[in-house]
Symmetry: D2
Subunit: 268 residues, 4 copies
């Protein structure tokens, strides 16, 4: 049973990890992967932010090399370039965490097609392009590196609607979960897994207002908390353990799933 100690089941040391999107959740995941001993590649727009996070990652990773790519997977070529950079730097991509995201809120009657489409593009198309490029790489990745693992960011909105102008966001996240199911099946025989994490609201620059002690944040939060049995919104720290689990050998027989880490929101 030696291979089944917690140490080995959650061991990610020496893996090549690619994180696409290093906003709050992507950065937290990247830091945890660095602390776990991964070689990191991070991709996002914004040279200054990339450089700053790369510095953090080097510290968390005890000085290991960190590669940055200033791109989003907006086209097949962009996605290929991101994967190619990780492969060039670290020999392969063993685990990938895609944490891009966008939202435009608007009632369907008032929202423009462009605004709707931008949400679908960022939350669905970019993920598909990242997985396409990853899948092409996985096809030649040596089997002895173990199963390739991909974790993506869905949301409780992948399962639940919302009355306040969320047709785009809900469609994008539900769509992602469907893509994850299909990919899970498609990749099962190809030594790769696809899963997702579904958070509820977690603190980030975008949601910081909901953590405020004054209105409107306070009242919006209080209404929201009536739906969250834990009685609090979340922090990236609440989600990091699940990201590691989804990327570690512990979940090697799980695929096509979305795990809701939401203080009981979807259970209620």
């Amino acid at each position: 049973m030696n291979a089944l100690t917690p140490q080995s089941l959650f061991d990610l040391s020496g893996k090549s990890a690619l994180v696409i999107g290093v906003g709050t959740l992507g950065r937290a995941g990247a830091l945890a992967l660095a602390a776990a001993g991964c070689h990191l590649t991070i991709a996002d727009k914004g040279a200054a932010q990339l450089a700053s996070i790369a510095t953090e990652l080097r510290e968390a990773g005890d000085g290991r090399a960190v590669t940055t790519v200033e791109k989003w997977p907006e086209t097949e070529a962009d996605a290929e370039a991101i994967i190619a950079a990780a492969v060039a730097a670290h020999g392969a991509v063993d685990v990938m965490f895609v944490a891009l995201g966008w939202n435009n809120v608007g009632y369907i009657e008032e929202q423009s097609y462009e605004a709707w489409n931008k949400v679908i593009t960022a939350n669905l198309h970019f993920y598909w392009l990242a997985c396409q490029a990853a899948g092409r790489h996985f096809a030649t990745r040596p089997a002895e590196r173990g199963r390739a693992k991909v974790a993506m960011v869905s949301s409780t909105r992948g399962r639940h609607g919302l009355a306040s102008g969320y047709t785009a966001y809900c469609a994008s996240k539900s769509g992602l979960e469907g893509m994850v199911r299909a990919l899970g099946c498609e990749w099962a025989g190809k030594n790769a897994n696809a899963n997702a994490i579904g958070p509820t609201v977690f603190r980030s620059p975008v949601s910081e207002w909901m953590f405020s002690d004054t209105d409107p944040g306070k009242s919006v939060r209080e209404t929201m908390l009536e739906r969250i049995p834990f009685g609090r919104l979340s922090e990236a720290e609440d989600l990091v353990g699940t990201i590691l689990y989804l990327l570690a050998p512990a979940s090697d027989y799980m695929t096509g799933q979305t795990l809701y880490v939401d203080g009981g929101y979807t259970a209620d």
Copy 2:
């Protein structure tokens, strides 16, 4: 209890019904709506087919006027034009059935972004545009016409993945189901409902090969049937009753749901 007889609960006579997409399922739904006494508007590409189906509908509807619009809801303007034509002809849209659909099969590594995007566009964007234009109309539709009802075509693939090159189709249908949930919530206070039907394979020109007595249809069907407890694929006739139910007063308190009419596929 007079209002609760089967006659009144499923009464659609005199309603203005719009059907977008009159392939196999749209046509079957339109015929049933005509037989139920609706005034019909049908929208699709293909002038000859539209005219032919309009003729069938006039017969099924005892000579009632049938309006045709040679468009898909490809843009906001197209969708608005479809709704406007129905309103001009019949005073309002009371019930709408959207039955467009497209699929491109391909493993994610081999499929082009264009092929993926075309599926998302037809199965998700066009539905959103149709609902946007309908919602704008519903905002001024008289309350005394009863709840506006929209039924859309999802698929068992909205809940289940598939290993054989279905990332686009699964994402599009899951995405649609998420959009339906959000719309159900958003429209609840606006006198309108949004629901979907989720069929498994039904006979159509596209699927006819799967009903064949020779291979590959025969063997593909037999594999598929191991997953369908009913032991047979379906016909549009198996689905028509659910379409009527979703558009009739019988379902006025149901919204945001997808009903799987699939011979037990999703139950198994």
Copy 3:
């Protein structure tokens, strides 16, 4: 397409219908079935109530014979007796609606095993016993009578937990939905369907307090309504159309499903 008119798809005239449990929802379903032209058998405890509802049913059914059985399906023998009475009176059971229900509210630490077990017994065991006896009858029921249809009463609690002492109720209703899925598969080749309806709170003697204009009903309702996009609790009348749909030919290709008729509760 003649067989696919609304008239034929929702035609229940001349069918032998059995309703087990004639509280609010069972009674409403029975009245709608009588109005639809069914021959009725009703089973419940309480001779006076049975007789009173039988009188109502005869009026709704234009004087058709109504059979009563003063039993619940508490044992195999009881369930067999209920089915036998319906068969003796009307030649067969074509459609069956089981609408029994019980709840004991209590935090798990405070609830007795007996209180928990009573909920499981009423909401799960009795349904299984009713289906067992029905299934034995269906095995010899002539195929030319069409598919036998069984509808059962689940709840939004079959999908959602609740923090206020609902382990028993949630387990019983989730369990029922699992039984419905298994039965849907098991009966698929046996000319019978099993489905369920999942309501949220509807007005009944048990829930009447939640419709009150004074507390605690008012405040409990208002909290509840923040979860129901329709902004109102339901009436049995909101559910009757779905019961008829589940029992009519319209749903002949659907099995193993639970339909949430809940003003958007599960969509939100």
Copy 4:
């Protein structure tokens, strides 16, 4: 971020772990918990087996004390006695893994009520009793011990029916998942989490025949494998990582969930 290293997120050392049911999966979980540095209490029927597994656990746990209780949670008193033994030995129960299970296969028309009831009793009632006793203990457990974590064994049958005589098993597992959702909500404010793991078939003395190279095992397995994208049935080793994840701090913000670890079965 020091607290968010893989080491701390999955750290279970020094915890008091209770495992109820030490068949294949319970034993594997107990061994992993021992290897993770937990103090163990195991409860099951069968003195010889208990003693044998206790010996294994002492080895895996580097000689740590292991407590055995020769009971199932068949009554409130039994469940209380199991918890009391763990508390007496190790001061508290920090994490609990319930891995009891039973199945009787039979078509509903042929199965006895006793056979049905035995499945519900073992898979649902015993779990509820274990949780009741645990909950009573959690009420006085010091907050500084961290969140109490309970993991239970559901099955892909909690979400899927099966045509071959599974009404009892499917109802019991679906029921358990509903209980888990309710408990997740109920315990959220009480410093305790409830979640479940949903495996597909894994190798055990009960399922060993399905791993055979000869019929009927071979053909039953091959049919089953058409539904499992991974193309193989599972081993307890495939599930252990998820059990640890559900019991470790990594999942502290997740509750009321069932995680399907099934080689893609539920995704397909």
